[in-house]
C-alpha cells in the first residue's frame, strides 16, 4: 500500500470516528428538542419530532401567570453573575498570595482544603441552613452566592496559582524596583497576564450555580427566589404529575446561551486550563 493511500484511509477512519461521535452527541440533544415541542405532558407518547408539534410549553413559560420562569432566569443570572465575579476577585487575590509570598500555611493550606472538600457533606446542608439563618441570609440570593464563592476557592485558587507560577517573577521584581507596591504589582502586572485562567474561573463559577439544584433547594424558600435549576427540577419532582415536556422546554432555553458562551470561550478554556492545571 502506498503511503498516500494509507494516509487517505487513515484520514477517512478519523473522520468516520468524528461522524460517529457527532451522532452520539447530537442524538439526545435533538431528541430533547423534539420532546419540548410535544404538546402533551408525557414523555413517551410519540416519535422524535412530534407530528403535531407546538410551542405551547415555551409560550406557557413566558406568558402563564403561574409561571415564574422569567424571575428564575433573572435570579440565576444574578447568582451566577455575582458568583463568577466575586470568585474571580477572591480567587485571584488568594492565588496571588500563594504564588508570590511566603507565609504560615503556604505550602500545604491549598492542598489541605482541596482534600477537606472531598468529604461529602450532604447531611450538613441542615447546618448551612441554620448558619444562614443565624447571620440573616436565609432565603436570600446573597447567602447562596457567598456559599458558592467560598466553596470554589480551593480548586480554583489552586488552578490560578499554577498559572501564576508560570509568569516569570522577574516581571514583578522589575516593577517593585520601579517603586510599585503590592497592589500595583497585582493589578498592573499579574492580572492582565492571568486573563485566560481567570476566564476559566469565571466560566466555571458561572456554570456551577446555574446547574445546581441541591443547595438552592435547601437555602431558598420562596418560589420568587428560586434559581432556574431548582425551578425546573420542581417541574419533574412531583409524585403524581410530572411535567417533563415543560421541563425540557425550560432546560433548552437555558442550555442554548450556556452552550454559546462555552463555545466562544473555548480558546481561553483550553489554554487557561492547560497552563493552570498542569503546573499545580
Amino acid at each position: 500500500m502506498s503511503p498516500k493511500l494509507k494516509s487517505a484511509l487513515e484520514l477517512t477512519g478519523i473522520y468516520a470516528i468524528f461522524a460517529f461521535m457527532t451522532v452520539i452527541i447530537l442524538y439526545p440533544i435533538v431528541w430533547a428538542i423534539g420532546m419540548s415541542l410535544n404538546p402533551g405532558q408525557s414523555l413517551y407518547s410519540s416519535s422524535i419530532i412530534p407530528e403535531n408539534w407546538s410551542l405551547e410549553h415555551y409560550k406557557w413559560l413566558f406568558t402563564d401567570p403561574r409561571s415564574n420562569y422569567v424571575t428564575w432566569y433573572k435570579n440565576s443570572m444574578i447568582v451566577s453573575g455575582c458568583a463568577a465575579l466575586f470568585s474571580v476577585i477572591m480567587t485571584s487575590v488568594v492565588a496571588f498570595s500563594f504564588s508570590r509570598y511566603k507565609f504560615v500555611g503556604r505550602t500545604s493550606a491549598l492542598y489541605t482544603f482541596l482534600i477537606l472538600q472531598m468529604f461529602p457533606v450532604m447531611m450538613a446542608m441542615v447546618a448551612l441552613y441554620i448558619f444562614l439563618h443565624l447571620v440573616g441570609l436565609l432565603d436570600s440570593l446573597t447567602g447562596l452566592i457567598l456559599i458558592y464563592v467560598g466553596s470554589q476557592i480551593p480548586f480554583n485558587a489552586w488552578l490560578v496559582k499554577g498559572y501564576l507560577d508560570t509568569i516569570p517573577r522577574e516581571l514583578d521584581e522589575a516593577a517593585r524596583i520601579d517603586g510599585a507596591g503590592h497592589f500595583t504589582v497585582f493589578w498592573r502586572i499579574i492580572l492582565p497576564l492571568a486573563k485566560p485562567i481567570l476566564a476559566v474561573v469565571a466560566l466555571f463559577n458561572f456554570m456551577t450555580p446555574l446547574f445546581d439544584f441541591i443547595l438552592p433547594s435547601i437555602v431558598l424558600n420562596s418560589p420568587e427566589n428560586y434559581t432556574i435549576a431548582l425551578g425546573l427540577f420542581n417541574f419533574i419532582n412531583d409524585q403524581f404529575s410530572n411535567n417533563f415536556t415543560r421541563f425540557t422546554a425550560g432546560a433548552i432555553l437555558i442550555a442554548i446561551p450556556v452552550a454559546v458562551v462555552y463555545l466562544f470561550l473555548q480558546r481561553y478554556l483550553i489554554s487557561g486550563l492547560t497552563a493552570g492545571g498542569t503546573k499545580g
Partner: protein, 430 residues
Amino acid sequence: MFKEKTLWGLLSMAMFVLLLAACAPEREGVEEATDNNEGSEGTEESQEQEKPEELVVWINDEDIAEDISVEMFEKYTEETGIEISYKRVALPDQVEELALAGPTGDGPDLFFQPQDSLGDVIAQGLALPIDYSQEEIDGFTEEAINAFTYDGDIYGAPVAVETYFAYYNKDIIDSVPETIDEVFDMSKEVTDASNDQYGFLVSPEFYYLYSFMNAYGGYVFGEEDGVYDPTDIGLDNEGAVEGLTKYQEFISEGLMPKTLTVDVLDGLFTEGKVGMVFSGPWNMPIYKEALGDSVATAPLPKMNGEIAPSFIGVKSWLVSYYSDQPEWAEDIAKFMTNDENSQAYFDVTGELPPKPEILDAVDDPMYAGYTEQVPQGTPMPNIPQMAQVWDMDVAIELINNDADVEEALTDTVQNIKDNMDVSGGLSGEE
C-alpha cells in the same frame, strides 16, 4: 514538662465541660436563641389568643390546590380580618421543610399532609393536636378521624379521602369485568403489546398492588383496638403470596409491560390505548378531558370473591408545632373543612371530602367507582414505621422481573424488619 502541660490542659478542659454541663440556667438565652417555643407555651398560658395579623399556610404544589385555597383564604380574611399568606410546597417535601424552617420562624402555621406521613410528623413532634367537639367529630366519617388519631389525639382537619378504583375505556371494553379472572381473560383478548395496546394496566407500586395482597389475607401491620403492632407484618403470608402470584401472571403472560410508571400509564390511557387501569381521583379531570364520554369508573374487580380492598388515604390540614398562633391556625383549619367549604373543595378538585352528607349526595355517574370503592378500603397505617414498608416496591420490582413471589416477599419483609430495627423503629420509642 510537656506531659504536665497536657495533663493540666486536659484537667481544665474536663472542668470546663463539667461546668458547662452543670450550668443549665442559661435557659433564658436558649429560649431567645431558638425562638421557637412561644407557640406551645402560649397555649398553656392564655386560652384566648390575640388575633394575629397574618397566618402562613403551606398548600400542595398544584395549580388546582392553589385555586381552591385562595378562594377559601379570601373568604376567611373577609370574615376575620386575618391575612393569609400561602406558599406552594410539594406534599412529599413539606415535613422535611417544616423540620428545617419551623425553628427559625420561617415555617407555616398550617400545613397539609396525607395520613401515612402522620407517623413521621408525630415522631418528630411537628404537629399539635386539634381540639374537636364531639359534634364536630360526627361531621366527618369515622375512617377519616381514625386516620388522624394518634395516641388518642386528633391531629388533622380532614379535607379529602383518596383511594384508587378502576377507570375503563368504553371504546375498548363494553362491560366491566367483574372479577380479576375476567380481567385476565379480557386482557388476553385485547392486549397487543407491540402496538402499545393493553387490556389492563396497574402501576407496579405497592400502593396499588396492596389490593391484590390484602384481598387474599395479606396485611401491613397487625392491629388490635386501633393500635398497630409494627413487629407483626403480614405482607409475606400465604395470602400476600397468592395475590401477587395472580398479579405476576399478567406480567409473565406479557399482558403488562415490566417497567410501567404512572407517567406511561396515564399517557397510554389518555391516548385511548388501554381498556382498564387502576388510578385515583386526581386523574379524573385529565382522563375526562382526553377521552370524554368514553371513560367510566367502577370499583376494583372482585378478588377472592369480594371487591378488592384499596388503600384509603386521608389528606388533612395540620397545625404546626412552631405556630405562634396555634388556636387561630386551628380555627382556619376548621373553617376550610366546614360543610360549605368542603363542598366547594369537591366542586373544584373532584376529590371527595370525608363527610357523610356530601358523600351521600354525589350522584354523578363518573363518581360511581370512587364512592363505591371508599367503603371497601383499608386505611393506610399512620405509624412512622410505615415509611419502611414502602420498600415493598422493591419486592414488586423483583416480581416484575420474574422472581419467585414467595422468596421476593419473604426477603423484602425481612429487610423491612431489619431496616425498622436499625432505624430504631422497633425498639420502643419512649
